[in-house]
């Protein structure tokens, strides 16, 4: 390897390792928190931190844009010195949210975390979205709340249910988790959706791809989530394509998380992949070689 090749490899590695995935995960968690607080404060004049979270999201968006500019600048430098500007490792952001978070083990004498009190709130909305009632065992007020579930594992289960078109399984999988595990789906799915949409379209999703993605996914999402407001899917697709999100009525905080997980399953199914490809340790799936490939229309 020549000195120049070595320099190029080092710069590509630096570009690939820029924390765009972490910033995306942070941004989605902030959006999820904002949705929740907005839901709480609908009739209150107290802002409960929502304007500050809006500022935080804006800063995170600017940081993500600055990271992309840095990647472009590195690519421009590589091209200027006669090396390919394409990063070597491909888009790895999608793996970031799927990695199991490494939480410190609780101290042996530590009290167990308090049980979550949002279980019935979560299950009620899941029922409204999917049309599937929660299992009888969870409907009693005294039923124990589910513990924390690995959100990436939940996403794989949801994707499996979507792939088989099994709405009852989808409902069961969503009813079986705590609200915090379910709401965390928003953060996990965001980079995955962008990657899957890119694979389906044959290029990085752009603002003018909104219609194509909508026609590829809307029908199937609607059939699995008959109770989901259409604006939720529109907003998700707009974010994937980095297009302006439609202004609309406020939605339930669970809607975005659930719809995003189902959209992930629909795009996976469109690509002919199964849920195991969402394992962060899975090998890189083959991308479509034909840049002109168009996603088939839903319906």
């Amino acid at each position: 390897m020549s000195l120049l090749q070595e320099l190029g490899a080092q710069l590509r590695a630096t570009s690939d390792e820029l924390p765009t995935g972490l910033v995306t995960v942070a941004m989605e968690r902030l959006r999820s928190a904002t949705d929740l607080l907005n839901w709480v404060r609908q009739t209150s004049v107290d802002p409960i931190g929502v304007p500050q979270l809006g500022n935080a999201i804006e800063h995170a968006e600017h940081a993500a844009a600055a990271l992309r500019l840095a990647q472009d600048a590195i690519a421009a430098y590589l091209a200027a010195v006669g090396l390919s500007g394409d990063p070597g490792g491909g888009d790895q952001d999608w793996r970031q949210g799927l990695k199991r978070s490494e939480e410190p083990a609780p101290a042996p004498d530590a009290a167990p975390p308090p049980p979550e009190k949002l279980g019935s709130w979560w299950r009620k909305r899941v029922e409204e979205l999917t049309g599937e009632a929660p299992p009888a065992a969870t409907q009693s007020e005294s039923a124990p709340e589910p513990g924390k579930t690995d959100t990436a594992e939940l996403l794989r289960k949801v994707a499996g249910g979507v792939r088989s078109g099994d709405r009852a399984k989808l409902g069961r999988d969503l009813h079986a988790v705590s609200a915090s595990s379910g709401l965390a789906l928003s953060a996990v799915t965001s980079p995955v959706l962008r990657r899957l949409a890119g694979d389906l379209l044959g290029h990085e999703p752009r603002a003018d791809d909104v219609g194509r993605l909508r026609s590829a996914a809307a029908g199937r999402v609607k059939s699995l989530l008959p109770g989901a407001p259409p604006a939720v899917l529109e907003t998700l697709i707009a974010r994937v394509c980095r297009a302006p999100a439609p202004e609309g009525a406020q939605t339930h905080p669970a809607d975005s998380a659930v719809t995003a997980s189902v959209l992930t399953g629909v795009l996976l199914a469109r690509l002919g992949r199964d849920e195991s490809s969402l394992d962060p340790a899975a090998p890189e799936p083959l991308r479509q070689p034909d840049p002109q490939r168009r996603p088939e229309t839903d319906g």
Binding site: L7, Q10, L11, T14, E17, L18, P19, L22, V23, V25, A26, M27, R29, L30, S32, A33, T34, L36, L37, W39, V40, D46, P47, I48, G49, V50, Q52, L53, N55, A56, H59, A60, H62, A63, A64, A66, L67, L69, A70, A73, I74, A76, Y77, A80, V81, S101, E116, K117, L118, W121, A179, S180, L183, A184, A187
Partner: protein, 86 residues
Amino acid sequence: MASVAEVRAAVDAALQQVTESQAAIQAAREKLGEAQQSLAAALDGSANDAVGAAHASLSQADQQLEECLGATLLAIEQAQTYTATL
């Protein structure tokens, strides 16, 4: 019908998301610092405009993340003040 316990639980769940976002931002800033060092070492002495642009963008990203973190701290403080009044 919603209870104070449910409102508090919803705010707590939101704050949990904010805390997790803070952890992601901290981790991103660490990786960003490593990238800045790596870039500085590899491109020491370069006068190429793209190199200056890359350095400037990384600095800007770090500054935005720092301000993001500051905003989340204010948000947490305000939400906790609110739940204390419930």
